[in-house]
């Protein structure tokens, strides 16, 4: 068990390391560096040389990678190309805002998805299932900026119920984001609910068709007891991985939603940094998001392993 755990942690760490190499190498290989971006494209000659000297860009790439990576491990990502501000400070608030958005969306989406998934799974092919399954296809396939635009049009422009844009500044306390955060949360929760619902539904259907459930029915166990005691613990296990993937998607893929709603999160900062070619900031955000992605998936894998008796014994036997 412990060996399995260590192996998974090691693989996760390796993945993060490869990501850091890809990010660093990517920026190296692409034409232009922090200095050409900072001094505009015409930068040539002495000015460029001085800038490179000051930024330490003349040193070998391996040396700079080690310096960058060891800084990143300590939470120090250096300074931004525009304005020379500490990246850790710039990113801090934005990361908190994105997390706030993600947690609100998860708080709404996960319970709703599990509830609807179980209901549609148990009532397979009945009207309630057809309705929510169709709605889920719509919610997960329509691009986020489209559903966001439609929701703003309906709830903000026509009905005037909710604010359609976030005007709170990045550093404001979390409570000030309400009620502006509600529409972005609804859009995110919609997509998330759809994905998790489909997973839970198919897994409930599969479990309910199992022999031990048939056995329980024949034995005369009350229906609700079958559902809650026998079926759900098994049916919800695969949902953990989908929730993990959704969390990862929330942190990286909300870029478009943050732009639509003008939400001061990590995603919008990323777009701004890419447009400004502020490469140190892009590198930092990429590494943070990738680390979160790996971490969340790792947690989900380990949780599934601990909660699934079969995998548990398998792991025990393996070690």
């Amino acid at each position: 068990m412990l060996r399995m755990l260590l192996r998974r942690l090691f693989l996760g760490a390796i993945t993060v390391w490869i990501v850091s190499v890809i990010i660093f190498a990517g920026v190296e290989v692409l034409p232009g560096d922090a200095c050409t971006a900072f001094l505009e494209r015409e930068a040539k000659g002495k000015l460029l040389e001085n800038c490179r000297e000051a930024q330490g860009l003349n040193r070998p790439a391996v040396e700079r990678y080690i310096e960058w990576a060891s800084g990143a491990v300590r939470g120090d990502f250096g300074v931004s190309a525009n304005g020379q501000k500490s990246i850790s400070e710039l990113v801090g608030n934005r990361l908190r805002n994105s997390l706030l958005l993600a947690i609100c969306a998860l708080g709404v989406g996960v319970p709703l998805a599990i509830f609807l998934g179980v209901v549609t799974g148990l009532r397979r092919d009945k009207p309630v299932d057809l309705f929510f399954s169709t709605a889920a296809v719509f919610a997960m396939t329509i691009p986020e900026f489209v559903s966001a635009t439609v929701l703003i049009l309906v709830f903000s422009v026509w009905l005037g119920w909710l604010p359609g844009i976030v005007l709170t500044s990045a550093g404001a306390p979390a409570s000030e984001f309400f009620p502006e955060i509600l529409l972005p949360v609804i859009v995110l929760a919609m997509v998330m609910t759809a994905h998790i619902l489909r997973m839970v539904r198919s897994s409930v259907i599969e479990v309910m068709a199992g022999d031990y459930i048939q056995m329980a029915i024949l034995k005369g166990v009350p229906y609700w007891r079958i559902v809650f005691r026998h079926a759900l613990p098994n049916a919800l296990l695969p949902a953990i991985n989908v929730v993990a993937l959704t969390i990862a998607w929330l942190l990286g893929g909300v870029v478009v939603i943050e732009v639509v709603f003008n939400y001061p999160g990590l995603g919008r900062m990323m777009i701004d940094a890419i447009s400004d070619r502020d490469l140190p900031v892009v590198q930092a955000i990429a590494l943070i998001v990738a680390t979160v992605y790996v971490g969340v998936n790792l947690t989900a894998d380990l949780m599934t392993m601990f909660l699934n008796p079969r995998l548990r014994t398998h792991a025990l036997r393996g070690s």
Partner: protein, 296 residues
């Protein structure tokens, strides 16, 4: 003798395609989905000849006009006909994704099958690199390349094809692992066939179904990515009509002129939903469970 067998397999293959197509059309989702997709493809091809106006013709006297007899879906902030621009707004997206999707599936599929068959240390390393690429948000990877090299289709097609092929590697590899342990692959090995022959004759036919469904899904995700990029201003450049760009342009004027946003919204949504419904029906017709697919 050999010729007879060859024509027979040819026949069954055609029959199978026919049977799968009939199965797809027999399902409500497949019938609706395929109809939507075909409709969009036909419109994308014929739209330049059937649209009522020039897509870039501006008319300062007809700005933000509501739907009328002259302009069925109204006009935008530059007085351009919304119907014309909506009908033509999918051409660029379908062209780019239509070329990039097959490339992505083919290269990702081959790499996945090859390493699924070979396995070993190299396979282990490759999977870590694939994981690393997947852990970076798609929009970051694409935007960095687009900002560096420009937004033309000569940049967008290879970029989309490259990044959307990476998840295909994983799917193809997993599907190959399911097949590789079977007896007919061992038999082919025992007969002394090389890797290429085994891939072509034993693995590919068995993995093809999975790749087809995967391709359909990649297509819809790619369209989503493409229109999102246009929406953010990194895709199609004006005045070329594009749904994502039209939604971005019309958003600020939504309270006065909602038709400018709703028309491209309906067009884009119907295409993406059509592809997804088709993919769903195709997966069911081929007997591949797609419910466990992750939102990558």
């Amino acid at each position: 003798m050999t010729e007879i067998t060859a024509t027979r397999t040819e026949n069954t293959r055609l029959q199978r395609i026919g049977a799968v197509l009939r199965d797809v059309m027999a399902r409500p989702s497949g019938a609706i989905g395929l109809t939507l997709v075909v409709l969009h493809l036909v419109l994308a091809i014929v739209s330049p000849w059937i649209v009522p106006y020039d897509y870039k013709a501006m008319d300062s006297l007809q700005m933000l006009k509501p739907p009328s007899g002259a302009h069925w879906l109204g006009t935008d902030h530059l007085g351009r006909d919304v119907l014309t621009r909506t009908l033509m707004g999918g051409r660029e997206a379908l062209l780019v994704t239509g070329i990039a999707t097959p490339i992505a599936v083919i290269w990702g599929g081959f790499v996945g099958i090859f390493f699924g068959l070979v396995g070993g240390r190299l396979d282990e390393v490759l999977m870590r690199v694939v994981d690393a690429f997947l852990s970076l948000p798609w929009i970051l990877k694409m935007l960095v390349l687009i900002v560096t090299f420009g937004t033309g289709i000569e940049v967008l097609i290879p970029t989309l094809a490259f990044f959307y092929g990476i998840p295909v590697i994983r799917i193809a590899r997993a599907a190959t692992h399911d097949v590789v342990a079977r007896d007919f692959v061992s038999a082919a090995r025992a007969r002394g066939h090389g890797r290429i022959t085994i891939i072509r004759r034993e693995l590919l036919p068995n993995v093809l179904d999975t790749l087809m469904v995967e391709g359909a899904m990649r297509w819809s995700w790619m369209l989503l990515a493409f229109s999102s990029l246009s929406f953010l201003g990194f895709g199609v450049s004006p005045p070329t009509p594009d749904w994502g760009l039209m939604i971005a342009d019309g958003r600020g004027l939504m309270s006065f002129a909602p038709w400018g946003v709703l028309a491209p919204v309906v067009a884009l949504s119907s295409l993406i939903i059509g592809i997804n419904l088709t993919a769903d029906a195709l997966a069911k017709a081929l007997g591949i469970d797609r419910a466990q697919k992750a939102p990558v």
